[in-house]
Symmetry: C2
Subunit: 121 residues, 2 copies
């Protein structure tokens, strides 16, 4: 029941695209991640995934369009939907994620950025 | 997959202690609420509940202590733990909640503030 400061937790993250876990509840995890550049196309067959943008502008590319997500905005990527998050102009983007604990980082795709050994911060 | 601006959604809330739903994923709801004054002692037998403070200072009273939760901080209230959120000095506090869709507003307590007919905003 200890409260945790998100900004302080973000400062502990040193690697892009490597989420750190800050809370667990009802089988779901709350994670923080710093994003920069391009990630990888993937989907999660059984898990919806929420992104809350804390800082910077997130581009969420889908097969038919790209959503621009500004600070203070949330976007939910439904299960099974292919998506490819990226940032532009070398900007560092900070996001908070809500997703089931079982969610694999890059779904069924394996990539050099894949990290399924995510740690608490 | 439309992104939603949290500040804009907060502006649609007119009543204190009446959460509005902004997202659903994996059987969980994301809600926004404006809080002012005292709520009511209650617990949720089967649901953990997360509070993210967007604006103002939230006081989360437990039977053995009170946690002070500042803007940008999160607190998770585990299932079964009695809690009583309140604000001080007539301050309006804006929070984002993350909890299972089945969560009752005031648990098994019924109170004049109880609102189990929460709407999307």
């Amino acid at each position: 029941m200890i409260s945790k400061n998100i900004e302080e937790k973000f400062r502990l993250i040193t690697d892009y695209w490597k989420p750190g876990i800050v809370a667990e509840l009802n089988g779901q995890l709350v994670k923080l991640a710093k994003l920069k550049g391009a990630f990888v196309w993937h989907s999660h067959a059984h898990e919806d995934e929420l992104f809350y943008v804390h800082k910077g502008t997130l581009y969420m590319e889908f097969r038919d369009k790209t959503e621009v997500v500004h600070p203070g905005e949330i976007i939910v990527v439904p299960k099974g939907v292919e998506h490819n998050p990226y940032t532009r102009d070398d900007e560092e983007v900070w996001v908070m994620l809500f997703e089931p604990a079982a969610t694999l980082h890059t779904g069924e795709v394996t990539h050099e950025k894949t990290d399924n050994n995510q740690q608490w911060i």
